[in-house]
Every structure is written in structure tokens, then in C-alpha cells.
Symmetry: C2
Subunit: 315 residues, 2 copies
């Protein structure tokens, strides 16, 4: 499994064959519950993931963990320091943990994550936790990928307006205030509940009109370093999964992931073709012309696409 | 200018003509200094941007501000609360401020930002501050776009390991510890300096071998809410600009931005073509087959590209 995921991480040419070989195995597999975990640096995300894995294992689930590290486009590899804390599960063969480099913005998370998920699906994972560092674009991508998004917060990490600014009120299915033994934790939970209820009221009329039963996101409290409160998080995840399953959303989400996967692969293939052989030099020339104002980016893009179209037909 | 940037934000079909019309004006314009501002929610980014605009205005520079809000793919529009703090500059016609929605991961920052920058360049901005919320993928993109990246930190936002995890040691040209009047600020500066010097030593041998003069990133202190320390930030930005200019990097960066702009436009055009007319339905069918294991994503991507190639040639 680790070797297969390395192929994904390294964008190996062999992936093409591997994914073709895996396809028949997908049909027999149970659809895994893909859970995105997100939150600012410092909220205790790795510790929470570790403790949540333990809680999920107590329910008998096979668990996969994919951690995406946005620093890797620069460092050339994920920092593994936080993985050490996962060593609790090193000898448990019902747990698979992998820290992956997200591959810059060329394909990125949307390219690698669905293929890595496919490997974990075939391997029989019941739940896959997908963890990213930071609040930003990668969270937006995770929210698009996951069935359930868990947003982690901690006291002292910025006030409610900051939370609203970071857009987290719109992506969370389950909220967890970690470090709940610290000052201000109750206040964070109260503020968050108030903001969530307000946000639900704002969009409630539309939902009521469509007859759509809404999910009301719980706001839970944990002390991940002591393992406190994680069973409640696991229960909330199971409840959200059941809610999704009832509505056919688990199946729909898997189709959506496949659609994004296909688009990401097609786009990356396309760009690889542009970059191949003479096209890369042509792009450099075009870029210089655009930078100097001798051409505009749309005209340049048309030239690039016209070339690509020709080559595609020829090949 | 605001209307032109709205066209970018809304991905208007008119952009094609607008960019063609702007191209000749680019050649006469001074290359603007593109400064990316990044940091976790809660570090005081909006307040810092506001105070930095004031400091830059004192040097006589015309200043543009583009704020990208990753929450917008969900909310359909940027939250404007933080823009209120910018009202100091509302009547100053040497300042242009715009909060933009980043358009999900379809094109995203790499599509919109260079075109918005082009508008500001033609309008004669000497400095453009590009602000994003959060630390993550969008920061990686900003670092690729900007000439100079300013990383903002604040005491109490997580320890040094968290900073290293978020990859900020590799993207900053200037570090600013805001809220420097709070407990722990000196410690954050010291830790950061130690980590930066270590990181510089690690990569120093390679740089020395290539004879490349390295930029040593300063670690400054500000209290943005009182306007303290921002003149030093403006000086550090000017110093970094001069350093870049001396090495020809300002010109090179502008070419790099154009290259990414062309690629982003070409990719988005391509994907729009896939999504158009019958192709969208075909993609949905392919996605269902892949999700059920009846096909694999590479085979599906090939079909999508083959179709696209045919249509491109026909068109």
C-alpha cells in the first residue's frame, strides 16, 4: 500500500497501469468515509488526528490517514516531525498513515488525493482521515473532496471575526474546540455556536423552501493530548456518515471525486504536453512577449491551445 | 480600474478584449513591485496591510492592494468586514484597494491574480500588496507570484515547530512579528531568527558554490494597530526590491507571472471547453464509471482529451 501511494506522490508513469489494475477491485469495496481535518497551525491537529485514530479503532473501523503538507513544493518532501506522534499506531495493521507532499499548484491536492484515496479504498479502509496544514485554498479543496469536514479550533488562536474571515463557518460539518482545558475554550464554543446558528438561520429559509433536511453542525470539546472527548467526535462522524448515506450523498461524493480526478489528470496531462519538447520554449517566448506588452495572455493561450490541438490529433 | 478588476473577478468574456487593449500600455509602465502578505488568521494581517499602505504612501509610492479571500468559493463573495479598516485610505487617489474572490480551484489565484496585477500595473501602481487569508496552498501560489513575500507572525499563535510545519521558513523574504508589545514577542523573534539562520546555513553551501549572493531575510517587529515599525517594513521592502532589480529578477518575475497567466488561461479555456455542451454530460458518465470501478481515471482522461482534441481541430 505504501509503495502504491509513493507512486501517486511521485506522479509515476506506472500509475496509469496501477489505476487500471485497481479499477475492478473498486467495485467490490465498501465506500470509505472520507473525513477532512482542518485548522490553523497550533490547534493541535496532529495530536487530534492521532487521538481520533485511536477512538475510531475502538469502534472496529480500519483507518487510513493522509496528511498533506503544503510546505513540500519548496522543501521537496513532507516534514515528518509530526508523524512521530503517530507512533502509537505503528504496529496496528488496521491503521495506515502516510504524510504526502502536495505537488505545488500543478495538479496539487486535486490530482494526488483521489488516487491515494482509491488505494486506501481498495485496501478496505472504512474511514480515511485527510489532514492538511493551514486554513486556505487547500481547505477549500479538502472540503470539495471529503464527505465530512472537521474544523479544529483552539482558544487563543484569534477571535470570532477571524474564524468568519477564514471561511470556516461554511465548510465545517463537525467543529471541535481542542485544548478545552484552557482559558477561553468555553467562550470559543459559545461564540462559534452563536455564529453557526446565525449562519444557519440566514440560509434556513432557502433550505426550508426546498424541503431539504439540514445537518446541524455540532460543536464539540476535546483535550486531544489526554484523549478526552474523541469518542464523541467519532460518534459525530458516524452520525454524519449515516445522514449522508440516507440521502445518497456518499455515492454522489464518490462520483464527484472521480470527476475531479479525471479533470485533474486530463489537465495535468495537457500541461505536461505543453511543457514537453519545443512547447516549453514556445511558452517562454510567449511569456516574454506578454510581459513586455507585445502580446496579451489570451492571444498567447490561444496559440498554446492551437498547438496542443494539432499535436493531440497527430498523436 | 475597479470596473476592470470586476471583469477579472467575474471571469467576464470581455476580458479577452480588455487584456488585448491593455497590452500596449504595459510596455510603457514601470514594473510594479509585487509584495505578497501572508500569515495565519489572527496575526493582524488587515491591520498590518492598512498601516503598511500608510508607510508606503509616506515614501510617495502609488499603492495597490489585492486581498484574496479563500472563503469565497462557498460564500460567493469576499467578506468585506476587514475592508472597513482600510477606510483610512478611502479618499486617497494614490491608493487602490480591492477585495477579490479567488475562484475555487478552477483557475484560482493563478488565473485571476496576474490579470488583476496587469490592470494595476497599467494604472501606474509602484507597489502592489497581495494579501491572502491563511497559510496553505494559496501562500504557495502567492510566493510564486510575488517578487517579495512578507510573512506575518504574532506571539501566542503556535510555537516554532508549527512555523516550520507551515513551511514559512522557506517562503519569507521579510518576516514581521506583529503585536510586538505582547508577551512572548521577543521570544518569537529570537526563535524565528535561530531557525532562519539554521535554514540558511543548511542551504548556504550550495549557494556559496554557485557564487550566488543570498538575501538574508530580516525579522522585524511591529504594532500595526498603533502604526509602529511599519516604516522599517517599507524600508526592508525597498531594499529587497533593489536587490531583485540588481539581479534582473524583477524582469524575470514578471515573465514568470506571464507564463503562469498564459498557462492558467489556457487550462481554464480547455476545461471550459470540456464542460461545454455535451462534454459535461460525458464527464459525468465517465466519473460514474470510474467511481463504480468500470473504468479507471487515466482511461477516462484520455477519452476527455481525445474529444477535446477533435473539437479543437474542428473549431
Amino acid at each position: 500500500m505504501a509503495r502504491l501511494i509513493s507512486l501517486v506522490e511521485n506522479a509515476s508513469p506506472q500509475l496509469r497501469e496501477v489505476m487500471a489494475a485497481l479499477a475492478p477491485l473498486v467495485s467490490g469495496a465498501r465506500i470509505p468515509h472520507v473525513v477532512g481535518l482542518t485548522g490553523s497551525p497550533g490547534v493541535g491537529k496532529s495530536t487530534s488526528t492521532n487521538a481520533l485514530v485511536a477512538a475510531l479503532r475502538r469502534t472496529g473501523a480500519r483507518v487510513g490517514v493522509l496528511a498533506f503538507d503544503p510546505s513540500s513544493p519548496f522543501s521537496g518532501g513532507a516534514l515528518l516531525g509530526d508523524r512521530v506522534r503517530m507512533s502509537d499506531h505503528a504496529l496496528d495493521d488496521g491503521v495506515f498513515i502516510r504524510s504526502m507532499a502536495s505537488r505545488g499548484h500543478l495538479g496539487g491536492l486535486s490530482w494526488a488525493a483521489p488516487q491515494a484515496l482509491r488505494v486506501l479504498e481498495v485496501a478496505g479502509c472504512d474511514v480515511v482521515l485527510v489532514e492538511t496544514v493551514g486554513v486556505g485554498q487547500s481547505e477549500v479543496e479538502i472540503a470539495g473532496l471529503a464527505d465530512t469536514t472537521v474544523v479544529l479550533l483552539a482558544p487563543g488562536m484569534g477571535d470570532g471575526i477571524q474564524a468568519a474571515k477564514a471561511g470556516i463557518l461554511e465548510i465545517g460539518d463537525v467543529y471541535v474546540v481542542n485544548k478545552a482545558d484552557r482559558d477561553g475554550a468555553d467562550q470559543v464554543r459559545r461564540d462559534l455556536r452563536t455564529m453557526l446558528r446565525q449562519s444557519e438561520r440566514d440560509s434556513g429559509a432557502a433550505a426550508a423552501a426546498s424541503g431539504d433536511a439540514r445537518w446541524s453542525a455540532p460543536v464539540l470539546a476535546t483535550v486531544a493530548s489526554e484523549g478526552t472527548g474523541l469518542d464523541e467526535v467519532a460518534e459525530a462522524l458516524a452520525a454524519h456518515r449515516a445522514w449522508l448515506e440516507e440521502r445518497g450523498d456518499l455515492v454522489r461524493h464518490r462520483v464527484r471525486r472521480s470527476r475531479e480526478e479525471i479533470e485533474a489528470i486530463a489537465t495535468t496531462t495537457m500541461r505536461a504536453q505543453w511543457r514537453a519538447s519545443g512547447r516549453l520554449a514556445a511558452l517562454d517566448d510567449l511569456a516574454e512577449q506578454v510581459a513586455r506588452g507585445e502580446s496579451d495572455p489570451y492571444a498567447a493561450a490561444d496559440l498554446l491551445l492551437a498547438d496542443a490541438g494539432t499535436d493531440l490529433t497527430a498523436g
